[in-house]
Symmetry: C2
Subunit: 455 residues, 2 copies
Amino acid sequence: MTEIPYKIYLEENEMPKEWYNVRADMKKKPAPILNPGTLQPVTIDELSHIFCTELAKQELDDTTPYFEIPEEIRNFYKMYRPSPLVRAYCLEKKLGTPAHIYYKFEGNNTSGSHKLNSAIAQAYYAKKQGLKGVTTETGAGQWGTALSMACSYFDLDCQVYMVKVSYEQKPFRREVMRTYGAKVTPSPSMETEIGKKINAEFPGTTGSLGCAISEAVEAATTQEGYRYVLGSVLSQVLLHQSVIGLETKAALDKYGIKADMIIGCAGGGSNLGGLISPFAGEVLRGEANYDIIAVEPASCPSLTRGKYAYDFCDTGKVCPLAKMYTLGSGFIPSANHAGGLRYHGMSSVVSELYDQGILRATSVEQTKVFEAAQMFARVEGILPAPESSHAIRVAIDEALKCKETGEAKNIVFGLTGTGYFDMVAYQKFNDGEMSDYIPTDADLEKSLSTLPKVD
Amino acid sequence: MTEIPYKIYLEENEMPKEWYNVRADMKKKPAPILNPGTLQPVTIDELSHIFCTELAKQELDDTTPYFEIPEEIRNFYKMYRPSPLVRAYCLEKKLGTPAHIYYKFEGNNTSGSHKLNSAIAQAYYAKKQGLKGVTTETGAGQWGTALSMACSYFDLDCQVYMVKVSYEQKPFRREVMRTYGAKVTPSPSMETEIGKKINAEFPGTTGSLGCAISEAVEAATTQEGYRYVLGSVLSQVLLHQSVIGLETKAALDKYGIKADMIIGCAGGGSNLGGLISPFAGEVLRGEANYDIIAVEPASCPSLTRGKYAYDFCDTGKVCPLAKMYTLGSGFIPSANHAGGLRYHGMSSVVSELYDQGILRATSVEQTKVFEAAQMFARVEGILPAPESSHAIRVAIDEALKCKETGEAKNIVFGLTGTGYFDMVAYQKFNDGEMSDYIPTDADLEKSLSTLPKVD
C-alpha cells in the first residue's frame, strides 16, 4: 500500500475542469424559488434583473449535470488551488483513534475561506456580461473579502455593504477589502433609500445582514451596469463550490481511499453543499453509501429544529422565496462567534437532500466547538475559523467513537477557513468568558410564526 | 519544454533531509562571537548556559556543511511544508515584463511566516535536552507565535516577553500565542529584576525589543530547566532557515530553471540567509553566479549605511558581541510598519557574505513598498507582510528593468509571510497617511558612536 502523505496535492492538470450540479442527479428536485410578489416560480428574465444572466441560468438549471469551468476561472483557481487534502496524522495520534482523519483545507488564500471559489466565478460572469461592477453585503467580512479579491482581478467595481457593527468592530477585514480596491459602506447607510428609511426609523442602529442585503440589492438595481451577488445559499454558489468536493474525491481516489463519513459545517450551505455534492451524487445514483453529516450551531439550528417550508431568504423580503429548512426570516440568532453560520435558513439543495435522507444533521454548542478548535490548532498547526471548527468538533467526536469500537473509519471533513480575523472570539474562550445559548422552543415558535403563506 | 505550473510543490520525499551550513564553504569565516565580559570568543560551555547545548554547538560550528534534520522535525515540517515556489504569471502579465518571476511563499502556516522553520528546531532540541520550557521576546509577534506553536507541539512551556506597546496594540497576535498555550507577558514586567528596574527608572514606558530580550534572558537563566531562544540573527537560525533555499533550489532544478537573481528582505537576516544559503554556497565554491540582493528598509539601513564592526546584539548588552553590519545597538529605528526589519544589526553570516561581495544590498522607502504590496495583493491574490513587500518592491523594479532591456531573467524572491496582522499599516496606506523616514548622517553618527571598543 502506498504511504499517504501528510498533504495530498493534486497536480494542476488533475484539477476539475467542470463544476458538478448535484440537482441533475436528484429525482425529486429542490422546490423552485418563487417571485415574492406573484408567488410563481421565478423566470430567468426576472432573475436577470438582480443577477448576471449566466448566473441566473445556473441558478435555475436543475438538469445539466456538469458546467464547464471557464479557462479564466481555472487560471485564477491555479493561484490558490488545488487545496490540500490533509491527513490529520497528529490529530489521530493525539486522540489515539484507529480512524483515519482527512480534511480538505480551504483557508490558504487571502480571503481565508472557500468563499473565493464562487466569488471569482460570479465576478467572471459579471465581467463577461460587460458590467461595471457588483454589489453585495457582508457580515463578518469573509465573503466581502473574497469578492473584493475577485473583482480586483477582473477590474470590476466592488461595492460592499458591511453590517455597521462589524464595520466598526472588525476594521481589519474592512482594510483587506479596501486594499483590494472595494468600496466598503457601513450599513445602514445614507446612500440608499432603504438605508435612509432604516436610519430614520431606528436612529443609531448598528445594522443587520438583512438590512445590508436590502441596501446591496437596491444599489445593484438602481445603478446602470451593476448586479447583485451573494456568497451562499444559492444553488449557483453550491455549483461553484462543488470544486471542493470534486478535488476531495479526486485526491481520495488517487490514493485508493474510500471515505466512510463526510462532515461539513452548515450555515447557508455553500461549503457543505460543495463538499458533499459529488459524494451525494454517488448516493443518489446508487453507486455508493456515505454517512454525510451537516454540523450547525446549537444557537442557529435550521436543519435540526427548523421547518421545511417556503420562506424569505432575506430579512428585508426583497429576494425570491425559497423552500428550505428555516427558523423564520425574523429569527435573530444569539451572539455566536461563528458569524458565517448565523443564517436563519439553509440552501434549498441541502434542505432537499436532508429531507430525502441523503445526509443527517447535528448541532453543537460553541464552547465545545472552541475546545475542539484549540486542540486542533495545537496538534495540526492551523488556527481554524470558528465556523470550520463545528466540523472539527464532530470529526473528533466520531473519531473517539471509533476508538471505542475499534473501527478504522475514513473520516473526511471540510476545514473551510482560518480564524486569523476571529481572535476576539478566541480571546473570549482563552479568558473563560465564552457562553452557550440555545433558543427555546418558544423562541422558535415565535420566529416560525412569520413564515409566508404559500400554496 | 515542460510547462511550468503556477505553483511548484515538491513531493514529501523530495524535501530536504539536511540543513545546509553555508559557513562551511566560506574560506574566510564570519568573525567569532565574543563573551561581552572577557571579549574572548564564546565557548560552547558558556553558550550552553543561555542556549540548549545542541543549538550552542550549531551556533559555533563553521565547518560542518550539512546537519541532519531530525525525523521529528521533518514530520512537523510536513504539516506546512514543502512551501510552494510560485510562478508569478499574473504579476508578470501586469508588468508586461519578459522576466520570469518566482517567489518562495512561506506564509501558509498559522505563524504566518518562515519563523516556524527555526522555532520547531529550537523547541525540538530543548525537548530533547529534557528542558521544561523556553523563554523568548517578541516585538510584532511573528516569532512569538511561531515559538508558541512549536512548544505546543512538543509540550514545552513557552514564556514570551512581548514589547508592551505591541502587547496592547496587537491583541490578536497575543491571543494566537495564548491559544497555543504560551504565557505572554508585557515587557517591561514586574516579574524580572531587569523589568522592575526599567519600570522604576522609566515609569510608564511601553518597552522595547532590547528590554524584552533582557527579561527573557533573565527568565531563562534564573529558572531551573529553561533556556533562551531567538528567532533571527544567529547562525543556528540561518542553518534551520536553509530549508527555504534548499527547497527553492530543488524546485527550480526540478523544472530546469536557472535563477539569475535571488532577492530577499533583510532584518536580522534569518529569511535572507536561509533563502540564499545554497545559492551563495555555489558561488563560494565557484560553481555558479547569481545576483543576490538584500533589501532593507531605508529607515533601518544596516547593510547600506551601517559599519562592519563588533557590536552588542541587544540593547540590554547581555548577549554575546557579534561582528556585523550595524547601526549601533542604541539605534532607534523610526516608526516603520515592517516591525520584523527594525533591527540595528545584521546576521554575522550575511554580513560577512556581503563584505565578500557575494551579495549586494539596497534600501527602499515604505510608501514605495506598500505600493508594491498592494499591486502584488491585487494580481497575485496574497496579501503580503510589510517585511516581505520589501523584496516584492525590488523584484518588481528589476522586472521593469528587464522590460526596458528585453531580458527574460529568472527573478526569484522570498515571500516570507502574510500581512493579516498588519492591517493597521495597510489602513495607513489606504488612507494616504503613510510617511517615509530616512535617518540623517548625524543620526547614524550618533548611534554608531556607541559601538564597543574591541581589538
